[in-house]
Subunit: 328 residues, 2 copies
């Protein structure tokens, strides 16, 4: 019995998820959903150049799908409130959801009441909901938690991620403020209108797994300024303009900073990597030289989570509740 | 409600597991079991210098424990047949077991029928059984599987572990053949009387998770020879004598070598580390410089698995079936 999958949100990540799901022998794609009128009615096979998606068209809503999916891949929003409003109708019908919504990684952090409600809906209908990705969802949270599994005791967790945006797609190069005046990008970062979403959720997930009560959480963001002219196939940045961002979240437990997440994404970043230090017994140090490629790995994380999610009990789940991650 | 824990096997690893379990606020140690007449009757509190174990004595069998445990920490044997005969009576009573038995990591590899029987016993009684450790159980298998969770596709997995035995306890320095004539130690390795147990099981676990059918599995082991005199607080090795071992397991899938595990444990090993390469999409490279300390981390892995095991459905489980590893 194949798992029936539908895609909600047909942006670049959604289209790639759909393509990957269509390539999995255990999945049968039943269709795609988007609210953009320009996309509705398009043939998914032609659009994605994927033979076994031919004849499936983009629908406006769940009701228009030719069959009820077992799982929806939800790649539409970053904000947890919007995600709840889109996902709850699915969960009410017993449809499980794997979402890329960054804030849904640990939904109780911002929206404990909505999270509790969605959990109740899921338990009543038999649906499961989880959010994942590469970051948040893996390199700055789940992988760090996994490492602590061989520790007798953990005193602090520090994670660094350095992404060389020069090697990444155009949208990431723009997302990090490339070419903007630093003052302009700083204001956007501080207003929460730009930057990486989900850093607080990564931190809250680690703290939850370690049963640590966060007493103080500080997130800061700053623009990085080009020291020379930079050029990629997608953007040109003059010396003195923004060429990336630096974000950092720190959590204190009983007055002591015990969790730090440090994220740099910029053009020409030297030594791109993901790194984790566990201060504990034993202490552990992990490095992924080069780092994990964001979009590609996020699409994989979403699709790979499907079979594991369906083996978990109904409810609103955390990635760390599911079985050990694995390519599906 | 605390989880009632008993220890089966009171060697060095068992005593450390007991001490760690006694330090966890969620666990209540009910006692220890060993078959060695010299140990029976000893006070666990005095023996382990652990205050909250005082008054608990070493028993000969399950029946003599003052209360039925929820979970037994089983640290007694490496061979899966012996483990089955010790664990089955526990599982019949509905007692769950976390075992350090290396071959039990993937019991179907050597003993598919016994594994099926134990699984049936567990399902009937409500018990759960799993085996774990740092190796096998984490660095050469579970961690590699976990990494593939962000891959669209995996073509090959290669793991290397280099342990500098000079910094480790006496028993490991002896286990790797230190001071023996290389010809003698080679014979022991080839007869399966020496060396690291569980390499094939690590490999079989990875293959299982990736749904790869192993068509050929080769394991080789060799003595490493000291090029100069070596001395630790525990052993003295002359030039030309054995100073460690090199073991390697390779699995082929459809005629191609797709999984390799390479283990070196020797005195004065340069650059001790754990490293994983995933050939896939994206390719991934992970390094733990210095590596994960074996015994200390194994004890942690055992105790940390307890709460996760009890949340899994009854049955004979694999580490990769349980939730993401985490310090408990």
């Amino acid at each position: 019995m194949k798992i029936k999958v539908a895609q909600f949100g047909l942006g670049p990540i959604g289209l790639e998820s759909l393509r990957l799901a269509a390539a999995k022998p255990w999945a049968k794609v039943v269709g795609g959903i988007d609210i953009d009128p320009a996309k509705i009615g398009r043939d998914l096979g032609e659009w994605t150049l994927t033979r076994n998606l031919r004849g499936r068209t983009v629908c406006r809503s769940l009701d228009e799908l030719p069959a009820q999916p077992d799982v929806v891949l939800h790649t539409a929003v970053s904000r947890v409130r919007e995600a709840f409003s889109q996902i709850e109708p699915m969960a009410r019908r017993g449809i499980s959801v794997v979402s890329s919504c960054e804030e849904l990684l640990f939904p109780r952090w911002r929206e404990p009441k909505l999270a509790e409600r969605l959990d109740r809906v899921c338990r009543a209908s038999g649906a499961r909901v989880v959010a994942t990705g590469v970051n948040p969802g893996f390199v700055m949270d789940v992988l760090a938690v996994c490492l602590t599994g061989v520790c007798r005791e953990v005193r602090a967790v520090h994670v660094q991620r350095v992404v060389n945006a020069s090697t990444r797609r155009a949208s990431l190069q723009r997302k990090i403020g490339s070419g903007l005046a630093p003052a302009v990008f700083r204001r956007r970062l501080q207003a929460g209108q730009a930057g990486h979403a989900g850093l607080k959720e990564s931190l809250a997930l680690i703290a939850h797994c370690l049963r640590w009560k966060i007493t103080r959480l500080v997130e800061t963001g700053d623009a990085l300024v080009a020291r020379r002219d930079l050029r990629t196939p997608h953007v040109a940045v003059s010396k003195g303009q923004t060429c990336g961002l630096h974000q950092r979240a720190e959590a204190s437990v009983r007055g002591k900073v015990c969790l730090t997440l440090d994220l740099t994404m910029c053009l020409d970043a030297p030594e791109p990597r993901d790194a984790i230090q566990i201060e504990g017994d034993p202490p552990l140090h992990l490095v992924l030289p080069g780092g994990v490629a964001g979009d590609e790995a996020t699409v994989a994380a979403l699709v790979n989570a499907v079979p594991r999610l369906l083996r978990a009990p109904p409810g609103l789940r955390l990635m760390t509740d599911l079985a050990v991650p694995c390519v599906a």
